[in-house]
Structures are given as C-alpha cells and as structure tokens.
Symmetry: C2
Subunit: 192 residues, 2 copies
C-alpha cells in the first residue's frame, strides 16, 4: 500500500526515508466500502483523492438520472473541480468497489508544496501530464462513434468492463444502457 504510493511518486521525484516517514505520519490512507459517497453535488470540499486500490467514479444526476462520466482506478489521482474553484460541486464521487484511498485536503497540500519545492514540482508535472492526456482522450471521444469508443475501451482499459456495472459504462461511453447492450450484441454478431 505504501509501496504503491512511493512507486508512483518515484516516477516524478525521489524521496528520502525521512520524507517518506513524514508522508506516512500524516495518516492519509482511508478504507472505504463499495457505494460510499465521497462528495455530493452542491457540497463544498477541499479533498483530493489518490486511488491505491479499488475504483471510484464521478457521476451527475441529470433529470433524475445518474450519468457516470469518469472512473479512477489504481494509481489515478483526482482533484475535484469544486476544490479548485471553491464553489459547490457539480458532481458526485463514490466508490464503485471497496477501495483504499489516500485523501488529502488542499490546505495541507498548499503547506507541503510551499515547504517542499520537490513536491510542488511533482504536482506541476503530474497535472500537466494529466491535462495533456485528458485532451487526447476527449479528442478520441469526439472523433469516434459509440461502437469505436467501446472497442477502444476494450483495448485500453479491459479491466473496467469487468469491474463496472454496464449501465455506468454506458453513460461513460456517452450512450444509454439499452444502446450498449444492443451494440455488444451487434459486435458479437459481426465476429461470428
């Protein structure tokens, strides 16, 4: 668990043993049950999440319907929009599975970043990377059909298709559950 975290950090900066201990002493690890809500729409929060184990999702409630738009699994980091713009959240976050998360808050992060330039550097690089990647993902979504998106997902994140309920996958792909079901049937047909 600590190893997962430090392996991740080591991709960006190197930490001394003291620094590692300092991080661990903050006691940020949290064990959460499937279905636990971490953030509600309308709510303000300062918490950021890093997934050590399990899966969390972002979803909206639009016309009474849940619309899941993003999944975060092992080694994924998420700072909600409401933390950045200090406004009520536009979306919910909850656990898709029993999960182990590192939960930090923005005040604490600001303090650490100003004390340890190394950490600030890591955060900059990480968010620049995530931003560039999000851009490319968004582009791929725009330029492809639901069927292509599904096949792309099958390639890039096959695990998701196993661990996530299909109606959540459907809205993640920008379609209705019935359409995903039909689409899958269509693909099976094609293969044979």
């Amino acid at each position: 668990m600590e190893n997962t975290l430090f392996d991740f950090i080591s991709k960006y900066i190197s930490l001394t043993e003291e620094e590692k201990d300092a991080i661990l002493s903050l006691d940020l690890f949290r064990f959460l049950k499937k279905g636990t809500t971490l953030l509600e729409a309308g709510q303000k929060s300062k918490n950021s999440y890093f997934v050590l184990k399990g899966c969390i999702r972002i979803y909206y409630i639009i016309d009474g319907e849940e619309k899941t738009t993003a999944f975060y699994t092992e080694m994924d980091a998420l700072t909600p929009h409401c933390v950045i713009n200090k406004a009520p959240s536009e979306y919910f976050i909850s656990c898709v599975e029993d999960s182990i998360l590192l939960i930090s808050n923005s005040d604490m992060e600001a303090e650490i970043n100003s004390k340890f330039p190394k950490f600030e550097l890591m955060c900059r690089i990480l968010s620049e990377e995530l931003l560039a990647k999000e851009r490319v993902d968004f582009d791929a979504f725009k330029t492809s059909s639901p069927e292509q998106r599904y096949m792309n997902l099958l390639q890039k994140r096959p695990d998701l298709i196993q661990r996530v309920p299909q109606h959540q996958l459907a809205s993640f792909l920008g379609i209705k559950p019935q359409s995903l079901s039909r689409l899958r049937a269509r693909l099976l047909e094609k293969k044979s």
Copy 2:
C-alpha cells in the same frame, strides 16, 4: 500585448518590474498568419503556446478527413501532448486567424521554473485549473446531445461561432458539417 500577458499572470502571482523585463527580454512573441501550421502530426516539438490575440486549433487527419477538436483563443494556454510525453505528435495545430502568440519551449520553461519557484507555482495552479475544467467540459460533452452541445456553445463561447468555419465547429461538436447545418435549421424552425 505585454499587458494582456501580465494581466493574465497577475491572476496567479505578482511580478516585479525586473521580472517583467526579464520575461520580455526573452522575446517570445510571434506574429502568425491565418492558416500557418504550428505543429504537424508525427512531428516532435518542445513548444508551448499562449494566445495573446487570435485563434488556433487542434486537428487530426483521420481517413483523410480533418477533425478539429479544440480551439484556443485570447488568454488560452496549450502545451501539446507530444511535448509532455516526448513522442511524435498525434495532432496538428494551426492558426484559424492571424494571431499573436507567445511561444516557449520546454527546456526554457524547466530552467525558469527551477530558478523562480513563483513561476513553478503558477504553472502548477494553472494546469490544475485547466485539468479540472477540461474534466467538466468533457463531462458536459458526454452527457448532452449534439443539439444541446451547440446551444451550450452558443451560450459559453458565442464568439467562436462567428470566427470559426462551420465545418470545423461541426467536428468540434462531434458531428458532420451536414448535421450541424441541419441542426441549425431545426433550431431556427423551433424558435418561430
């Protein structure tokens, strides 16, 4: 022009006159003609862009078709994916209009960031903001129909609809030019 830049920076950090002069002495401003290509797919580059005036776009060529996925206008910043992952670019960048850009390269940025922690701080905050916003934009795209996306654009970036050719807007909205034209006709019909 300098003012546009410093107004932008002042939202994040405050600069002394010396620091401002130092930035200006780097001579990063570039004047570009409409249609100029800044980056080609397959090419490697270290350049980041900040739009002071005008408009640039990201586009792909898929099956011989141009697919425009993003527009950057006044006060927008863009670091291409290829700069981040040091791999050949998956997309093109070109000027939609005559534009004034600030063009920096990643080596230079790394140097400045390590010399001036203030700058590193700005870059971190900026990319965290952009990442959170990109997430919300992507979500809005996923959860809405082409018609809703168009109406949303009409509200949020009415200028774009004026300054950008419709076939580029269409792929930005994830549809074909014919569909956008039809969609617009449908909306006009509804209004009356």
